[in-house]
Symmetry: C3
Subunit: 321 residues, 3 copies
Amino acid sequence: MEKVGSTSPGWYDGFRGRDVISARDFSREDYEALFRYADLYEEDPGFYRGLLKDCIAALVFVEPSTRTFHSFETAARILGCGVTAIRDPSMSSIAKGESLHDTIKMIESYGASIIILRHPARGAALYAAEISRVPVINAGDGSREHPTQAMLDLYTIARKRGGIDGLRIAFLGDLRFSRTVSSLSYALSSFKDIEIFYIAPPILQIRREVKIYLDDRGVEYKEIIDMDKAREILRSVDVLYVTRLQKERFPDPSEYEKLKGAYTVGPEILSIMRSDAGIMHPLPRVDELSPELDSKPNAWYFDQARWGLNVRVALLSLILR
Amino acid sequence: MEKVGSTSPGWYDGFRGRDVISARDFSREDYEALFRYADLYEEDPGFYRGLLKDCIAALVFVEPSTRTFHSFETAARILGCGVTAIRDPSMSSIAKGESLHDTIKMIESYGASIIILRHPARGAALYAAEISRVPVINAGDGSREHPTQAMLDLYTIARKRGGIDGLRIAFLGDLRFSRTVSSLSYALSSFKDIEIFYIAPPILQIRREVKIYLDDRGVEYKEIIDMDKAREILRSVDVLYVTRLQKERFPDPSEYEKLKGAYTVGPEILSIMRSDAGIMHPLPRVDELSPELDSKPNAWYFDQARWGLNVRVALLSLILR
Amino acid sequence: MEKVGSTSPGWYDGFRGRDVISARDFSREDYEALFRYADLYEEDPGFYRGLLKDCIAALVFVEPSTRTFHSFETAARILGCGVTAIRDPSMSSIAKGESLHDTIKMIESYGASIIILRHPARGAALYAAEISRVPVINAGDGSREHPTQAMLDLYTIARKRGGIDGLRIAFLGDLRFSRTVSSLSYALSSFKDIEIFYIAPPILQIRREVKIYLDDRGVEYKEIIDMDKAREILRSVDVLYVTRLQKERFPDPSEYEKLKGAYTVGPEILSIMRSDAGIMHPLPRVDELSPELDSKPNAWYFDQARWGLNVRVALLSLILR
């Protein structure tokens, strides 16, 4: 990869001033440039410190979040940005019924350089970006997309595995309502020879819109419902990406109880998977991923979470500098 | 107007070290000085940046707020103040029953330079100012007063209209429980030839204490209940100031349903009002003010919200420098 | 006492890099060093300003708090640390069931220099310290311990009284569930000739584990249930430390109503206690301590709260520099 840093001839311009709404909006070149800048966060920690003067990052989080909120907040602070946060809907105008439109106009008029939005409604980030004159980053909109999570997921795979091309990845759990799975699927379509396995019960299988997109881009994927078949597939994948099966998604609770065991990942998975395969999870987890795995080299999820900071420092600097 | 700024012979001293509890406490000279310093925020943005070193602004918000909170927070940060916030009553000692007295003493003992208080109880800000040795700004106390909102409202009128004297203004909606309407009415009494029209159903008409004050100061006002009369008046006013009619204020919900339409302002208002008249709203709005008006030159409310920052930067600097 | 400050030959090393989990973990020498550094906060305010560069204090408060939160936040800011806060459990991953383990790992991976934790579960701070590679400060774990409160309590006594040795102290109220009373009792055991009187109804008397500890360390203490006896003792104590009797602790509410009066402290206490005795309270108070006492020289509780800042500035600097 091309070298970046203070001695580099110039910045990568592909993110400059852009919104980050969907993982579909970025090219392989964009992702690879982002990874180089994410690497730089560790190689030369001084490079990013205070890089962006007079910038204000507005974090508008109309839904619970710890990890995404704090990694964006920390990234903004490292870069020297002021941070202003609207977090608790019960204490804000949102509780009085203010429209997202007016909230975005207000944030902007108080001088924000960038708006980072988490919102329960589908399409909220796109709508905000249309209103706002400053860039908007989608930090999760309903069950649709979470593109910066896809970026850090890709970065983790690239760094652990040496690259993305030729990846065989299995997603396990609630794929229908997981914005993480949709966004990563979209992002993977920019790379070569990807094979995706969606392991989920029928009512929680990957959404039709994602499949249409993958078909259009010629990405190979399979939906797996049978758990014996799933186990067979897990023998050969590079990555198992786990998400939580939520009880409240099942019309019939007994259906959930029946499936629960098969969708809980414990140490026995290691005897099935390849020794160099990785286990990923967007976190927070509840009980779908056993703490007994935490100390194994196959547990990539803590590095994955940690590297979210690298990726967000890089992304903010590439958009705002 | 006299020129201010770094080359000016001296600062205006009328706000120095003062509490801001009621719009009744300020003179025409105070308001006009404040407007000059608010203009300066746009004319010479560098003037205010980092002006106040070693200052800590404590924001104590025991009631929902987005706009007021964030514009004070942003203003304090622009001036170089540290910001400490007590916002969510459910996570604070207030939830354990701590008295406002002890909260104010604590905030003060941790080194606050100024306390900005929003509180649901009438007179809370005045009480806090009596306890505190540092200045207190009332950011809304129950339905009584919101003096910095009155300041930004006045500033908006002065800037859009070229001055306040001779203003004809109609207030529409829930005038009884609106602290915004009370405070702006008080503030207007410092200017000449003001005419105020209070358009509201009888149970939501302007409070007696406001009328007594206006009578004492010789300000002309009328209470309007009949909507045909109201429409007649709207033909000639300079400003229509809209507030929300809240369903929960009506003992009989059918009464609310009957009135609702007449107190909702849509694009048809433009065919009634003068072409140079302005529509104002303290925001947030819910559905009393149609988004179809947003792009019209008569919609002053987004500028009004935005200029809140100018006014609060100016006010904090005049109190604290 | 030995002089500290910029001209001092060296820092006290007893706190460097340590966790602060229990008041049992510190020696007389530690406490006395801490007091000298706490004094220094007033003697030479410039000494601490910006002392710790590139430090990030993470405040994780999974339980209501105003005073402890804000004094730690203010102390960290004075020292030049960035502050990142996880406060409202309803807006964070904790609401999604994330384990404390994963929260601590996340906080750490985002670069925290120190973690300050308030948590409702017993032993939460100890557990966090075992996971974390950076120091952890226990800011209250259930009803067990609150060691930094003990530090500021001791500092208040030392400063008001000239020293700790020979102290006669009475604790009044709910001693069983008060982490403040446990931690201060432990801390007092490092000093000489201490006499402790625990005044409480039987169901709210001091916990067995505290008594065992005091017995082991040879500290004299008495449990007092009879209120006539209590009044007799109050004549001679140096300090009366008041905590709240909470109605919800009593299985029988009428029992609470009967006792309530005897556990409420008003101005009449001054005719019983020695004229130089002090009244302390961890605050917030509700109605167990009358505001009529506030202006008396015996009311030490506002200084006690205020000096929390001195002690926390000193402690953070001693751990992190």
